[in-house]
Amino acid sequence: SQQGEEDPQALSIQEGENATMNCSYKTSINNLQWYRQNSGRGLVHLILIRSNEREKHSGRLRVTLDTSKKSSSLLITASRAADTASYFCATAGSSGAGSYQLTFGKGTKLSVIP
């Protein structure tokens, strides 16, 4: 079963606006990651946030993590048409076999309209 669940499933915004996607998960984690997938391509790693971190930035990306609520958010500021893609959160378990694996959510499909 999926560990991470993204919300919303689809998001459409105008170029220049900010896009926020949310991810909720169920069990304790070691880290949480966000990936981007352009249509017909493989996933590309965007950012990793560890369980003891609350916020992380990378360029126009800002990720927050609230372990008490078991949730994370990805903010893309000043969006561009090139940001159009599907975005997935993935969680790494904190123990056992889960610590060797990532469990992916179903993704948020972002459309940025020029």
Binding site: R41, A92, Y100, Q101, F104
Partner: protein, 113 residues
């Protein structure tokens, strides 16, 4: 996709036939993964490898087997393909303790008729 190739990129086969997909990496990473991606399900782990000849099952391993005889190659075999195995298959690699940044191949689109 640099450093990871998958072959074939597209394949159409018939129910009941065996199929082998290949993942090849030039990064010398220890960990390799096979996922399938289906609409409405996201990415699901089939099998993974944590070293040569060391493999383990993922969430959806039934009907699939894997082998890793060299660091650079990870093979996924469908012993007797079924229509439910029609999917896009992605290979991924990771150099650290598995659950860190993964690098994905370009994918193989498999259709089982």
């Amino acid at each position: 996709d640099a450093g990871i190739t998958q072959s074939p990129r597209h394949k159409v086969t018939e129910t009941g036939t065996p199929v082998t997909l290949r993942c090849h990496q030039t990064e010398n990473h220890r960990y390799m993964y096979w996922y399938r991606q289906d609409p409405g399900h996201g990415l699901r782990l089939i099998h993974y490898s944590y070293g040569v000849k060391d493999t383990d099952k993922g969430e959806v391993s039934d009907g699939y087997s894997v082998s890793r005889s060299k660091t650079e190659d990870f093979l996924l075999t469908l012993e007797s393909a079924t229509s439910s195995q029609t999917s896009v298959y992605f290979c991924a690699i990771s150099g650290l303790a598995g659950a860190y940044e993964q690098f994905f191949g370009p994918g193989t689109r498999l259709t089982v008729l």
